[in-house]
């Protein structure tokens, strides 16, 4: 395809990109340390306890990453109110007719790869922001992240005297104890990971298929749209 058929659009503002990478990085760290906490591999054995602090470091890394995770989340919530239309909270809430027609389009042609009329529907439905299915996935992702924060800080409240995590100390009590809170925390991690795997695949898929610069857009903020 020739270059002039595309125009360059600024989609992801800086705070959105910062959020995305802090979020991604902290989730990777949280998942790795979390899996170690859940079932620590047998790495140490020839040490005395006072010589190493392996689990201690794993846990402190988990908790520091958790604070980054929450900070990024707060930034993103703020930006959902003041950011551009692609970042606005309204783009995540499925209410309009257009949203549903885009949803069916994406499911039919992107997920199930059914043939489409290139001229008509593609121009109508390619979205520079989130498509409907993606935005709905991010809404679910946000809810899962909230569950992580509530159960995580609920468990953490026990380990601290700071008032902020203490605000969550009712969570494990409400859920019926730390057992249940940890179980939910653990399962929700897997649910997040599933969505992340699918997310990464489809980002690359769209980059290849639509040639819209989707992968690099989260770095430089710009996407490409075919000229109408």
């Amino acid at each position: 395809m020739k270059e002039k058929e595309f125009k360059r659009i600024y989609v992801w503002q800086l705070p959105v990109r910062i959020f995305h990478w802090v979020n991604a990085f902290s989730i990777v760290v949280l998942a790795i340390t979390g899996i170690i906490i859940a079932d620590p591999p047998a790495l140490q054995s020839n040490h005395e306890a006072y010589e190493t602090y392996y689990m201690g470091y794993v846990r402190v890394t988990h908790f520091i990453a958790a604070y980054f995770f929450v900070a990024a989340m707060l930034l993103r919530i703020y930006w959902a109110f003041v950011g551009n239309k692609f970042a606005h909270w309204k783009s995540f809430v499925p209410f309009t007719k257009k949203w549903f027609s885009n949803l069916f389009y994406v499911i039919k042609h992107d997920v199930f790869l059914l043939p489409y009329n290139e001229k008509k529907s593609k121009l109508l439905h390619i979205k520079v922001g989130h498509n409907s299915l993606a935005s709905f996935t991010y809404l679910i992702m946000f809810i899962l992240a909230l569950i992580m924060v509530f159960t995580g800080f609920g468990l953490y409240a026990q380990n601290t005297s700071w008032w902020l995590p203490k605000l969550f100390s009712w969570v494990p009590v409400y859920l019926g104890g730390d057992f249940t809170a940890r179980l939910i925390h653990h399962i929700t991690m897997w649910l997040m990971l599933f969505l992340i795997f699918i997310h990464i695949y489809f980002v690359i898929f769209h980059d290849v298929k639509d040639k819209d610069g989707e992968v690099s857009s989260m770095i430089n903020g710009h996407k490409f749209e075919p000229n109408k």
């Binding site: 047998a42 054995s45 306890a49 190493t52 201690g56 104890g177 057992f179 179980l183 699918i198």
Partner: protein, 360 residues
């Protein structure tokens, strides 16, 4: 057992039993220490036990194994067993009272009438609600009827042990008798939960003495447990914690690490999720506690501890999937399925675009 018309104070009863005043002061000091109170509280406790007439106590037993009573009478200081629990203090308790049959029932009703709104109701055991409550009957009445009657005039209710606090083994799935913990059956009375299977004797004594000495329940946490004893996890006061933090774990019960006394986390220790005072007060007059004897914490003071996954494994079991399915094996399976799906999708879309190109 007859209810004496003029109530003795605790000190009077204690002296009458042959203890010295010095024993009494030691007892008050023990109690203040267990409750984590300041030095000045010793005087307060001693004073209260000296002045206040003993509280009438009715101690009911429903679906339970009596391990709470057993634990209580073995608590550190003999005065606990002799004075607080002996016939002097308890107007009614199936296990220890001298009276039996109609005599016992009469004594209980006497107390309930005479000290209406004043007596403390201690409950050991859960209450079955299934089949009209017929699984547990005492003196011709179901446990729930007995309980409702006794709770009506109680000043406060103490739910002893995991049975009364969370249903314990009787309420484990499938809970055939519909065993129900006490706090789900009353809402209009001050209530304290003292979970554990059994609770530590000193913890029970501490709770009782607090109620007696200060005339109110001790400070409670969000789950209605006394903060003095249930504010910390077993993990937080465990002497093996240094091994946990170092990542030194027992991998199986007969390995070298077990001999060295490493952390029991990977052989199923539930200490990190269990709120109890075992690490500090310990058991059997401070002799030992499970972890010190080489066995992980069972989580006996936590809700649903019988249904909270495998006992000797760390892996997180998912309810409803059968115990062999842990969260991680499900997670790995679904991840595999997603990988297959992604692969299929990638191949299909590549073929499709190739086909389109060759058409053009």
């Amino acid at each position: 057992m007859a209810v004496t018309s003029k109530r003795e104070t605790y000190l009077e009863s204690i002296l009458k039993m042959g203890y010295t005043r010095r024993d009494f002061m030691k007892f008050a000091t023990y109690m203040a220490a267990y409750m984590g109170l300041e030095n000045s509280a010793v005087g307060q406790i001693a004073h209260a036990l000296e002045k206040t007439p003993r509280l009438p106590v009715i101690w009911e037993h429903y679906q339970e194994c009596t391990c709470c009573s057993e634990s209580f009478i073995r608590s550190d200081h003999p005065i606990v067993a002799d004075i607080i629990l002996d016939k002097i203090s308890l107007d009614y308790t199936e296990t220890l009272m001298a009276a039996a049959g109609e005599q016992a029932e009469a004594a209980k009703h006497d107390t309930m009438k005479k000290y209406h709104g004043e007596y403390i109701l201690c409950v050991e055991g859960s209450i079955p609600l299934g089949d009209d409550g017929n699984y547990c009957c005492i003196a011709g009445k179901t446990a729930i009827e007995q309980f409702k009657e006794a709770a009506e005039g109680a000043k406060a209710i103490i739910a002893w042990g995991s049975c009364a606090s969370n249903g314990c083994v009787q309420s484990a799935k499938p809970n055939p008798t519909d065993a129900t913990p006490i706090h789900k059956l009353v809402s209009d009375k001050p209530l304290i939960r003292v979970p554990g299977c059994p609770p530590i004797g000193e913890v029970m004594a501490g709770v009782i003495v607090h109620v007696v000495a200060f005339g109110r329940l001790p400070e409670l946490d969000g789950a209605k447990r006394p903060k003095a004893f249930y504010a910390k996890r077993v993990h937080d006061s465990c002497y093996r914690r240094a091994y946990y933090d170092a990542g030194l774990f027992v991998e199986s019960f007969d390995d070298e690490n077990a001999k060295k006394g490493y952390c029991l986390y990977k052989v199923g220790c539930k200490g990190p999720m269990t709120y109890n005072a075992c690490g500090t007060i310990k058991w059997n007059n401070g002799v030992s506690f499970p972890i010190q004897s080489g066995h992980g914490c069972f989580g006996c003071s936590e809700d649903n501890f019988w249904d909270n996954g495998p006992i000797y494994e760390r892996l997180t079991a998912v309810p409803g999937f059968g115990i062999e399915h842990t969260a991680d094996s499900i997670g790995k399976a679904v991840t595999g399925a997603i990988a297959v799906g992604i692969g299929a999708h990638a191949i299909a879309s590549t073929i499709k675009s190739k086909l389109k190109k060759s058409e053009n």
